[in-house]
């Protein structure tokens, strides 16, 4: 029996994704005026899809196993289209929306990981105090 029961690992992977996403958004916004620059994106959903298909014999089709996740980093993809005359493909509105989304996602993961540590702390102290 694992003390941390895989939850912390899953949350960590979520945080990994979110941190890389933040870096990619920062880079896209930094290159908003660079001619020929193509916007980058982080794909996490495809990795998640793979995990869902790989998990064997779930008790329920909605269950999937994240404990055996490989430690491959989230894939960074390049969106090939451009939206401006100079070949630049950074959509500022999309980047700002992604930024807000990513921030909330990151904060919620932090909140959960903190809650998990809180529960463990409570167990260690025997529920007292």
């Amino acid at each position: 029996m694992n003390l941390f029961s895989g939850t912390i690992t899953s949350l960590e992977r979520g945080l990994d994704y979110s941190a890389v996403k933040q870096k990619v958004i920062a880079n896209n916004v930094a290159n908003v005026d660079t001619p020929g620059y193509k916007s980058k994106d982080v794909s996490f959903k495809s990795i998640l899809q793979n995990e869902i298909q790989l998990s064997s014999n779930p008790a329920d089709p909605r269950h999937f196993d994240l404990s055996n996740t490989q430690n491959d980093a989230p894939a960074i993809t390049r969106r090939p289209y451009s939206i401006r005359e100079n070949g630049n493909g950074v959509d500022m509105d999309k980047e700002m929306a992604d930024l807000a989304t990513n921030q909330i996602y990151y904060n919620s993961l932090i909140e959960r990981i903190g809650g998990k540590f809180g529960s463990l702390n409570s167990v260690i102290k025997g529920g007292g105090q």
């Binding site: 945080l15 979110s18 890389v20 933040q22 870096k23 990619v24 958004i25 920062a26 880079n27 916004v29 930094a30 290159n31 908003v32 005026d33 660079t34 001619p35 620059y37 980058k40 982080v42 980093a73 989230p74 894939a75 960074i76 500022m92 980047e95 700002m96 930024l99 807000a100 990513n102 921030q103 990151y106 904060n107 932090i110 990981i113 903190g114 540590f117 809180g118 702390n121």
Partner: protein, 152 residues
């Protein structure tokens, strides 16, 4: 890909946009300068300058590194590769025979700086700067949140 990677990325963009604003300031300041360079025995008017931006870390060695060690290549921001002078657009000819730089017909060549264009560029640079400041603040608040892990 260190802890402060995205902050460095954003900072590089702030630096680049600030330099762009400096160049625009220079253009606006020299909107009437007729003696910028001395070439072939006569004074040439100021030429409009502009910056050329390019992504940082998009060179061969970084791609090789990505291929060999497979770290995720999120990019390292933006840099000003050079400042170019606009020698194509002709400057406006102003009739002023009294002017010391007037030619034989009495016309003075003015700099090819268009104040309207400079103002539009300035607004664009300001908005890009603000966008990067927003990203920086978002990143900062996320890092502050991360510091709260494990606090009861």
């Amino acid at each position: 890909m260190t802890m402060f990677h995205s902050m460095n990325t954003t900072t590089s963009a702030l630096t680049a946009q600030r330099l762009r604003m400096d160049v625009i300031s220079s253009n606006m300041a020299n909107v009437d300068t007729t003696r910028a360079t001395f070439e072939n025995g006569e004074w040439q008017p100021y030429k409009r300058k502009s910056v050329v931006l390019k992504p940082q870390g998009e060179h061969f060695s970084s791609f090789l590194h990505t291929a060999m060690y497979k770290p995720s290549n999120a990019g390292q921001g933006v840099t000003v590769s050079r400042i170019i002078e606009d020698n194509e657009t002709p400057g406006e000819l102003l009739y002023d025979p009294e002017h010391p730089d007037a030619n034989a017909e009495g016309y003075v060549e003015m700099p090819n700086v268009d104040p309207l264009r400079e103002m539009v560029d300035l607004m664009s640079a300001t908005r890009s700067y603000e966008g990067n400041v927003t990203v920086f603040n978002a990143n900062k608040s996320m890092m502050m949140q991360a510091l709260q892990i494990g606090r009861s």
